[in-house]
Subunit: 429 residues, 4 copies
Amino acid sequence: MKDKNTAALTPPMGFNSWDCYGAGINEAQLLANARYMRDHLKAYGWEYVVCDIQWYEPTAQNAAYHHFADLCMDGYSRLIPAENRFPSAAGGRGFGPIADEIHAMGLKFGIHILRGIPRQAVHRNTPTVTPGITARMIAQDYSVCPWNTDMYGVDAYAPGAQEYYDSLFELYASWGVDFVKVDDIANTEFKPTEPYSARKEIEMIRSAIDRCGREMVLSLSPGPAPIEEAFHLKMNANMWRVSGDFWDRSDALLRMFTLCEQWYPHVGPGCWPDCDMLPLGTLQLTETDPRYRARKTRFTENEQRTVINLWCMFRSPLMFGGELTLLDDFTLSLITNRELLEINQFSSGNRPVRANEDEAIWTCTDKDGNGIIAFFNKKPAPRPISYEFGDDAAGLYDLWSKKTGKLRMPVCLLTLGPCESRVFRIIHK
Amino acid sequence: MKDKNTAALTPPMGFNSWDCYGAGINEAQLLANARYMRDHLKAYGWEYVVCDIQWYEPTAQNAAYHHFADLCMDGYSRLIPAENRFPSAAGGRGFGPIADEIHAMGLKFGIHILRGIPRQAVHRNTPTVTPGITARMIAQDYSVCPWNTDMYGVDAYAPGAQEYYDSLFELYASWGVDFVKVDDIANTEFKPTEPYSARKEIEMIRSAIDRCGREMVLSLSPGPAPIEEAFHLKMNANMWRVSGDFWDRSDALLRMFTLCEQWYPHVGPGCWPDCDMLPLGTLQLTETDPRYRARKTRFTENEQRTVINLWCMFRSPLMFGGELTLLDDFTLSLITNRELLEINQFSSGNRPVRANEDEAIWTCTDKDGNGIIAFFNKKPAPRPISYEFGDDAAGLYDLWSKKTGKLRMPVCLLTLGPCESRVFRIIHK
Amino acid sequence: MKDKNTAALTPPMGFNSWDCYGAGINEAQLLANARYMRDHLKAYGWEYVVCDIQWYEPTAQNAAYHHFADLCMDGYSRLIPAENRFPSAAGGRGFGPIADEIHAMGLKFGIHILRGIPRQAVHRNTPTVTPGITARMIAQDYSVCPWNTDMYGVDAYAPGAQEYYDSLFELYASWGVDFVKVDDIANTEFKPTEPYSARKEIEMIRSAIDRCGREMVLSLSPGPAPIEEAFHLKMNANMWRVSGDFWDRSDALLRMFTLCEQWYPHVGPGCWPDCDMLPLGTLQLTETDPRYRARKTRFTENEQRTVINLWCMFRSPLMFGGELTLLDDFTLSLITNRELLEINQFSSGNRPVRANEDEAIWTCTDKDGNGIIAFFNKKPAPRPISYEFGDDAAGLYDLWSKKTGKLRMPVCLLTLGPCESRVFRIIHK
Amino acid sequence: MKDKNTAALTPPMGFNSWDCYGAGINEAQLLANARYMRDHLKAYGWEYVVCDIQWYEPTAQNAAYHHFADLCMDGYSRLIPAENRFPSAAGGRGFGPIADEIHAMGLKFGIHILRGIPRQAVHRNTPTVTPGITARMIAQDYSVCPWNTDMYGVDAYAPGAQEYYDSLFELYASWGVDFVKVDDIANTEFKPTEPYSARKEIEMIRSAIDRCGREMVLSLSPGPAPIEEAFHLKMNANMWRVSGDFWDRSDALLRMFTLCEQWYPHVGPGCWPDCDMLPLGTLQLTETDPRYRARKTRFTENEQRTVINLWCMFRSPLMFGGELTLLDDFTLSLITNRELLEINQFSSGNRPVRANEDEAIWTCTDKDGNGIIAFFNKKPAPRPISYEFGDDAAGLYDLWSKKTGKLRMPVCLLTLGPCESRVFRIIHK
């Protein structure tokens, strides 16, 4: 039997287009980010280039969806890239040329989809790949996304339903897709009293990937995924969102600590609870609302480092949200700390050892067997944090300053600045 | 200012096609019922002939909806009768000829609609009556009915939204419609945490009727309408459902007592909380499921009389659900008790005076100022019910047996059979 | 059968000690207010003097409850007045002497109780009036008030339970009590998912009053009472709270409009949905928290008049909350507008005719058959309100300014100041 | 810093008195079970003898609580054993003599407590160990257990609160207690919307144990403990209930599979999600209700073995609920399968690998590194279960039949009887 875990033995690292381009990215923008990744980030392990939502919508420009817009679709009710935005898709080649180009850079290519079948296919009653089965016959009529008008859910009990999903992933495999972010599925918000109502669609997608002949990372959105369903998520997906959309807001960062405390026991090879994209650097380039438009992240430097530290100590997937070609030195330094990225990729036993309203302490073991400890000040004011090390701890190596300090007593008392965090490797006697 | 109450100064009485034909009634069936009403029921006050859901769907046959079926629609995104089912609608005459024929019988004509604009209009992006405004521009994308695929809600804040509803009721007025049952609106079940989410659409429909130049009864479904919104309902509608669909089940009948206890203070001219259709006589003629098909009502005779008694004492609208041409003598007798129908139409001060798990007692004053009292045994076993009359009560006239009994003591002790109920006029000294 | 409605054929009007003294009022303070009422308010219909919560707690001083404090109790587990606070209660005379004195003023006397039996009686297992039945045997162990430690609920199914309540009201009748405000009963907050869990205790109290040989107004607190239970409330009580505690906050006043729209159909002789005390004049005399202490009401003059206008148009009970002996002229004028108080006491058909986020309009018919109309601006800024009168309206008499204006057109356009309201009698042609 | 995990490095195994004696066990009964354990079960790892609820209540006889009964209490508001039930407690020796006797058998002794302070102490306002602090001053007045009247919660913010808990555990340490089951704490049912409202009391108890000078297992009841709080539970307790009370009902057993799927990642040394007592053998010896009284477990033999298999594969604590001295051979065989108990005590990596409505498959690694696999048929009818082993699996050793079968193909197809389960050690090539 296929093991879906091999597709993501370590947390996926990459770039996702949503935070800077919303639904409106185009081929040139996507490839520019890919080239930057090849030149500056690939050496640190970054590899996925993910094109987010609505690449099949010709008029999409930013995060505002055009309700009921006409979507590009093939003869089997499958969405295909809008050629005006992705010219290489012309001639029915879909994302194949872009995937080829990204693969040629030594990187991997991902796409976003919404669960279901296009509403326009259902209303036009267009064919599916299964002879005699039309879009209308497999749609689950009441199952809609509350924030986007593109799709109806697919009814798992309808003949032709699994075949439809199979036909989707066959197409994606033929393009060379390595990563699929499926949305409106880990928490189906139209049904607040039953957030996991798409359970059967998750299973159909898992089967479709297993059969498509190409290994793909399966990423589920949006969050919060219900923790009661952790087992089902682990059996079927490679990563899934633990929160709603994460943006550069301090309260959301604080909330993430609680979510990491809930989810850490479920972290492991092939199964990555996902803290969402890193909203760092330059964001929302194409927004029209002046409150948000083309801004630098609103997080303080301390908070930005806390994002990286927490995502790494928890082993979240790392999907960068800012425009790579506009990276400043500080932000670049945040995502190229090789020692910290190794914690994210290769550590084990990651867990909180203290967690309260004021502070958090996480530990793990790095790939060489060293103890790692991270201190987080959750308050926006300086605070002392104390911790009692074992007798064999001789010193602490700071993974950011690269300096080593001696531990004179087993009890260490650190003063952290507002929302500051620090990560140390423990030096043993 | 127009007074919407004049459209229904007494509880509407009529026939509705749902309980016997589901979504599939046709012109011949509808008119056959109308003719029966003219010949046998009109003299008792019955007057509305209401064509229920999906008259615009050519393939509808019974209560099973055909998901995403093509609907008959005019050039302004308005649904029109399916000519294969309603031949007189040919030539763009809509329901005009049927309304004319029913009016000629001295009766009134009603139709059912679902709130919103057809999904097919939205996906085809067809015009509305307002130049420059298409269906897509006024649809509220996430607002769907969870049990029927015909419509999207209309966004009250979109330019052209009110005009669209105005255009609907203009059309209905031109046909000669007297009664509109609007569905998916009094309780929008897709949003269980916000059942009155269609508040603004109710207001748009109210305005559209006020402007259409023809008086129409506005009936809202389904129930339960939220009692917290009683004031808004009374300001805007003439009747609204207090319960979910009422069928011939004993538990539903018991539940109706509680609902009547909650709603009775809101009963008054032009404002009729609605206990739903009377599922009596022969029901579901065209169902294919053998458990339900073409059956006689499952209520016992006692229960059937209790339905009539409660609906009349509460002053619910009376919409008969069974096929009129198949009426047996007992059922006919139930709906032609002139004295009881006068209670329904003309009594006042209707209210419960006792209400517990075992029994209910309701009183009112009839049009001549006599006291009326109804005793209900809610248990499926014989039970005594006692009641203390005032000193001036000399006797009780039974509205069903037409017999009068003397009251020897102010305390009256009645024994009622299983689920039996009795209605008396009090004879004063 | 007794008719509980005769105890309150019109909305009760009086003074309640909570808003100015919390749980700490004493005999002198209570009688001072009674004397003021006799001298200045009785002529306007004010008649009840109600001693609020914890008169049996010797150390009570203000609104802060002393958890588990020792309570004064007689030999049958019944609470009795603390003699240090109510010296006339000495010698086992209870509230008898105070009631006598208040009756001698031509006024009526009321007390507050909490449903249930004292926890101290349960834990000491003291006797009840029923031989062989101790407090412990009738207590409902888990049924506690979440904001006060005095009582356990009484288990209606326990032998001796009804007798215990009977013994309470016998005692109150012997004292001469005319009004009982029972608390922790109309909404049992310890059980948020079942707010009407004290249904059986309400029934026991109703029976106890019916048997006690003295007519008493039964008032139930706190609110919100569940509107689904309106029928049960009307069968058993004379007034019940529609909201949580009402204080001098603008948002609470706005909320009251919505509650009045929900409850107005249930208003009638003997049945008075209660908008709570009037927090006007000087409040919270004995509070120690400097934010609240001994302040004038925070409502603006417009808001204060709106309180009176709404309470009168809705026909709420009127229980004044401020210290009467400190009444300023403006506040006194608010509660001595004889014409408006007659609306409260004797009008009929009271109902809203418009109600939205910006404004409300209420109408009723006064005791002489004149139309009364009240306009409320709900916004904190001046706003015009238009209204279309019938053709026979010639003028409007303002119940506050006592001036009459002509209506030149059937459409009247009024400009109201921030949160202002006005009440008019319609002058007919 | 103390490590609370050392108190329970493997899942605790023992006997608990609730399932056979309710609240009414006495010294002789407890010691008889201890002696049986010493003679027949100790060799298999069984070691705790736990006296369940209300040992301080002289009149307790079975599972029916005597509401508000007088409790035995010392001078510091601490409950002490009722001497009529536990004669060795005379002379203020508490549970010391019983603990000594059990220790002398080579076993360990546990008691049950309810969080909080006795209500009788609060109402009598008795002293606590802290000078000047009485019971009343530390009680949290509204915090009650909905099914037992003994206690009020303790307010963590009150001076003297921690000292009171410290004084409890000092006393228990002085007696020689090794295990404390604290009830009404892991899910505070009086507050259905906030089940973890006793969070602060859990922390106080944790601190009190850490300071008391004796290692004690901390077990929290009842369930379901909220999984969102898994981290807090793991930081503070050694075991906590994942479900409500588990009795011999098939539906409860099925539900336990789902709970184990949710909780397994949290299983580890010192942290044991608890599936509750094993309701096997002879139960409820002293019940008076004839439906339950002194019955054999209602589980079928297959179900009984499934209980043991699931509890062992999940690594739940094993607390036997039946009367040990009445053990029949079959039941004895269930709890003395040394190989299976070793799975419970020493295996690792325990997790489900398949879980659906029909079947479950769990795997783990035994202490010698062998793969263990368990198959569960969840249906009450025979069913085939297939499983694909790796190429290196040569055979399966059945831990119950002790027989080994060859695996001829990597795909194994087993047929399991109704609700049957089987556990195998994988024999590698």
